[in-house]
Structure formats: C-alpha cells, structure tokens
C-alpha cells in the first residue's frame, strides 16, 4: 500500500549547512502493517515521515500510496489519506480553539471547507460518546480550550483526531517522547487499540527499543539516511534488544556505543 522507492532529500543544498538527510530510502508496507521505526538522533526518521506527509518536495525518488503516485501532491492534499501525530504535543492541535472544534476540524480532513456549520449538534453528541474510549474525562470538557490540556492529554487528543476520519496511513513521530513514562504507556495503549480496531496501516517512530519490539508486526532501523534493517513476521516476534544491537553493528559497521543508548 505504501511504496517508498529510493527517495533522497538534502537540506540547504550548496550551502555550508548542506545536509543529506535521506540517501536512498527503500521499503514498502502492506495493508494493515504496523511498522515501528528506530534509529539514532539525526538518522532521518522524522525526515522520512515528513517526506511521506509532503511537508516539502523530495529531491529524487517515488512515493506511492495505494499504487497512486503522490510524490508531487502538496501537503494539505495528501492530508486526505494521512493521519499524523507529532513529537511536540503543541503541534497537533489548535490551542486557542475548543476540544470539539479541533475534533470537527479533523473530521473534515480531506473534504472541502464549505459555508456549512463548522460543527453540528449531532457531531457534539458523537464526540462526547467517542471520547469516552480515551478514558481521560475529555468528554466532559468538550468546550474547553485545548491549550488548557496537559501534554499527554493533547497527544491522546491528536491521536484521536488523526484517526477520527479513517486515514489510509497513520504517521506517528515519537508521539510519546515528551510524556512521562506512565502517560506514555497509556497513550501507547490507546495507539495499539485504535490501530487494531480500525485495522490501520501505521508507521511509528520511537526511541525506545522495547516499545519498538513490543508493538507492531514490522520494524525498520534507519542510519545515516538509509534503512539498514527491515524485520517482519516470525523474526520480529522473537526479536530481543540484544539482537537489535548486534544487528545494528553488523549492518552499520559501527559499534553500538553508549551515546547510541538513546535507542535503548
């Protein structure tokens, strides 16, 4: 369903800040795959997700979604197929707008914005029901401004918004990294639940190797702008952190040093 074929991206080409962030990334996802993405700081994980989301055009390569070439489609049009949650809890929601207004905006992802009501009464009822599954009490605070929520609540809400209108592909960029361990675990649980219940295809970046192993049916590791490991099926199920470290050393030719412990 998602084919990423030899994509390249260099930031600030021709300047002193030139940085080749993606150097020929290749992989594909099948319908219903839940793939975790790991790699050290600066490996190109966010850049790869941003390339799929269309934040900027890539330099070379092809991105196919459902066999449709979306490489040249701008970000706001690609949004019709994509649900996204970001590392920074501030990014995914409009803080000066109400919780229900944010949901209503997300429910219209991929549709043209008409002069019809921005939110209807039936919608408000529906959101009140649906929000109960998050178990955060947000269903009682539909008219609160999102800016009043904690980071964890905002991430859960963003995740909920990203899947309110079923996306073809869900992109999660370290969406639990800014949360305390307990909240992170809770948000991850909700993530699993939403992905399973809606049979979503998803890419989830994480720095936590255990999480990467425990969640999803696929795993890729990135290093210096390339995919250096691609694990699936039975192999993924039997994977341990130690295996991953050995495989990293074998594939990258580098030792797994302590400053890569961010992976652990």
């Amino acid at each position: 369903m998602l084919h990423i074929i030899d994509i390249h991206k260099t930031f600030n080409p021709g300047t002193i800040n030139e940085k080749a962030a993606l150097n020929g990334v290749n992989f594909y996802l099948d319908d219903g795959d839940f793939c975790t993405v790991i790699g050290g700081n600066g490996a190109g994980k966010s850049t790869m997700l941003n390339a799929v989301a269309g934040v900027w055009p890539i330099d070379e390569g092809v991105i196919l979604l459902d066999n449709k070439n979306i490489t040249g489609v701008p970000e706001h049009k690609r949004a019709a197929y994509l649900g996204r949650v970001f590392q920074d809890p501030m990014t995914g929601t409009a803080s000066t707008m109400e919780i229900q207004e944010n949901l209503a905006l997300a429910a219209r992802r991929g549709k043209s914005r008409t002069l019809g009501w921005g939110i209807t009464r039936q919608e408000k009822e529906k959101y009140r029901e649906l929000l109960k599954m998050l178990e955060l009490g947000l269903e009682e605070r539909l008219t609160s401004k999102v800016g009043l929520l904690s980071g964890g609540q905002r991430q859960a809400l963003t995740l909920f918004m990203a899947t309110l209108q079923q996306p073809r592909l869900l992109l999660l960029d370290e969406h639990t990294a800014a949360l305390d361990p307990k909240t992170a675990e809770k948000v991850l649980k909700v993530t699993d639940k939403i992905i399973a219940e809606n049979h979503l295809t998803a890419l989830m970046v994480t720095h936590n190797m255990k999480d990467a192993i425990a969640h999803g049916n696929r795993l890729i590791m990135m290093h210096e702008g390339k995919v250096i490991l691609n694990i699936s099926g039975e192999e993924k199920k039997k994977l341990t952190v130690a295996d991953l470290m050995h495989q990293f050393e074998a594939a990258s030719g580098e030792e797994f040093t302590n400053d890569k412990a961010i992976l652990a």
């Binding site: 409009a94 803080s95 000066t96 207004e101 905006l105 914005r113 002069l115 009501w117 921005g118 939110i119």
Partner: protein, 323 residues
C-alpha cells in the same frame, strides 16, 4: 486658572454624539483589523491604504451617479481586491507579512490618487446626494453606524462558525496542524486578508460620507486606531465579562472600543490640547492598553515579588532557628 474657566462642559456634551458616530465607524474598521490581527495572527498594514480606497471609490462613484449603496458595495469589492494583493505577495512571493502589507499600502496611495482624478481631496455634499450617514445629522449617523456594526457582527459571527471560517481560525492558531488536517493555509490567509480589507473599505466609505469628503490621507494611522479599538474593547470586555466572554460579545466590545477611543479623543480636544498631537496621543493610548494586560500578568507573576516573599520566608526560618 483662567485656562479652566475657558473649558465649558457644555461644549464637551455637544461634541459627544459626534464622537460616538465617528467611533462606531472606526469600530467597524476595527472589526476588519480584528480578523487579521487576532484571528489570522497577521499584522496587516494594508489598511492604511485601503481605508482611503474605500472612501475614494464611494465618493467618486456617487459623484458619477451611482446609487450610494452600489458605490459602497463596489468599495467593498475594491477592499477584497487589495487584501487579495497583500495575500498573494505573502503566499505566492514569500514576502513577510508586515512588508507585504506596507507594499500594498504604498501602492494604494497612487491608486487612490488615480481613483480621485489626481486630486488629494474630493468633496461630496449631503444636500445633493442621498448619503447614508453624515455629520449634518448626527443622531441618524449613530443609528446608521449602529445598524451597520450590528449586521456585520451577525455576519462575522455566522461566518467564523462555518467550516471555512473555522479553517481561517485554525490557520491563525496553528499552521502546521491546519496543513496536517488538510487546510490549504495559503488559501485561508488570502481569504482572511480579503475579508478584512473589504470591511476596512466599507468603513472608509462610511467615513467619507460622514465627513463629506474623501481624502488621500484619511487612512493614515488607521491601523493604530483599529488596534486601539481592538485592544481597548478586549481589555474592557475581559474585565467586565471574564469567563463569559464569547465571540459575539468580543466583537461588540471591539466596536465599543472604537467609540471609547473617540470619546477620549473628544475629551482631549475639549481640553484644547493641540490637535496636531493627536497621533502622539493615539500611540500613547495603544501602548498603555497593550501594556496593561502584560503588566497585570507580570505583577501576579514577577521575580521581584517572589524575591521579596522568599526573603521573608528565609528570614522567618532563620528566626525560628535562633530561638
């Protein structure tokens, strides 16, 4: 002492209705400023030019024999177009917001001169034309101004509750989130700038009728007056209604902000302060009203305060140890 004897309270009372009428027109203008400044989060300086465009188009078309409402409608369309230009300068050519607005504003100065047949001032007589609003009849002017403001508030209240209006508000609040939710933020920015300048041109058209002429300089400093009205209105509205402040009330208070501003101007003129100092005075008011919410927050939340409090707490602890 003799200065105070020259101040006649009756003069102030006589001037007040005129201040209210003018204040309502500036309040309408301020609703336009509110759309960009607060909802879109874009400080748009186009308005200094487009306010005069509104006056020029209204007066020239009326002189040419168009019915006044039609002239006013075309002025609004001219306003939509000027906002469109600023929007395209920003979104298509990558020019920063303030600069894009200034460029259009400067260009409009020449355009306005052309509209007014290259003269800096065009008079229009209320005796000869069926003007909607005029200082010759102040009570009627207040009524008309009030009706225009009320209609505008109702329309804006509806519009910013629609899917399209919500997408403008989202763009102003969080562009990244908006794009991720499929909103074309270049489109919403251009749209909001157009709407804003359309409203500003409407106000300019009303002002030209009210004062009986269009002037090439009538828009100079209008962005500051608009901001003054927005900020004064918000400070008063928030103080009076606190948590119960909603979008419609906010707009009502912004229009009232324009009225309050003009009453204060009336008082200043009554005190026989030099009217050439009016701009200085306006800048002062805006600075004060911008500073008030900031300073209030700071007083509640200052290092100086915690420094004093912590010193006192420390002293109390030491005293206890000594005993």
């Amino acid at each position: 002492m003799s200065y105070f004897l020259t101040l006649n309270p009756l003069n102030l009372i006589n001037a007040l209705p005129g201040c209210i009428a003018q204040g309502l027109i500036w309040g309408i203008m301020a609703l336009g400023v509110y759309v960009t400044f607060r909802l879109l989060n874009f400080a748009d300086l186009t308005v200094d030019g487009s306010f005069a465009t509104g006056g020029a188009v209204t007066v020239m078309l009326t002189l040419a024999g168009f019915p006044v409402p039609v002239a006013l409608l075309i002025a609004v369309i001219a306003g939509l177009a000027s906002g469109l230009i600023t929007g395209l300068l920003h979104t298509s050519l990558g020019i920063p917001p303030i600069l894009a607005g200034i460029l259009t504003q400067i260009a409009l100065y020449s355009v306005n001169l052309h509209i007014m047949d290259m003269s800096a001032n065009k008079a229009i007589s209320v005796q000869k034309y069926q003007l909607l609003i005029s200082l010759m009849h102040v009570p009627g002017a207040i009524l008309t101004g009030g009706i225009f403001a009320a209609f505008l508030i109702i329309i804006l209240y509806w519009y910013f509750g629609t899917e399209q209006g919500s997408s403008i508000r989202a763009t102003g609040c969080n562009p990244a989130m908006s794009k991720a939710n499929g909103i074309n933020i270049n489109f919403t920015k251009v749209l909001a700038l157009s709407i804003s300048n359309g409203i500003v041109c409407l106000a300019g058209g009303l002002m030209a009728q009210y004062q009986g002429f269009a002037d090439i300089n009538m828009g100079r400093g209008s962005i500051v007056i608009g901001l003054a009205a927005v900020i004064i209105g918000e400070v008063f509205g928030d103080a009076l209604f606190r948590k119960h402040m909603n979008f419609a009330l906010r707009m009502v208070f912004i229009v009232l902000g324009g009225v309050i501003y003009y009453i204060v101007v009336g008082i200043v003129l009554w005190l026989k302060l030099n009217s050439n100092d009016l701009k200085l005075f306006t800048a002062l008011i805006v600075a004060i009203f911008l500073a008030v919410p900031y300073l209030q927050g700071k007083r509640r939340n200052s290092f100086l305060r915690t420094a004093k409090a912590s010193e006192a707490a420390l002293k109390a602890m030491n005293d206890r140890e000594v005993n």
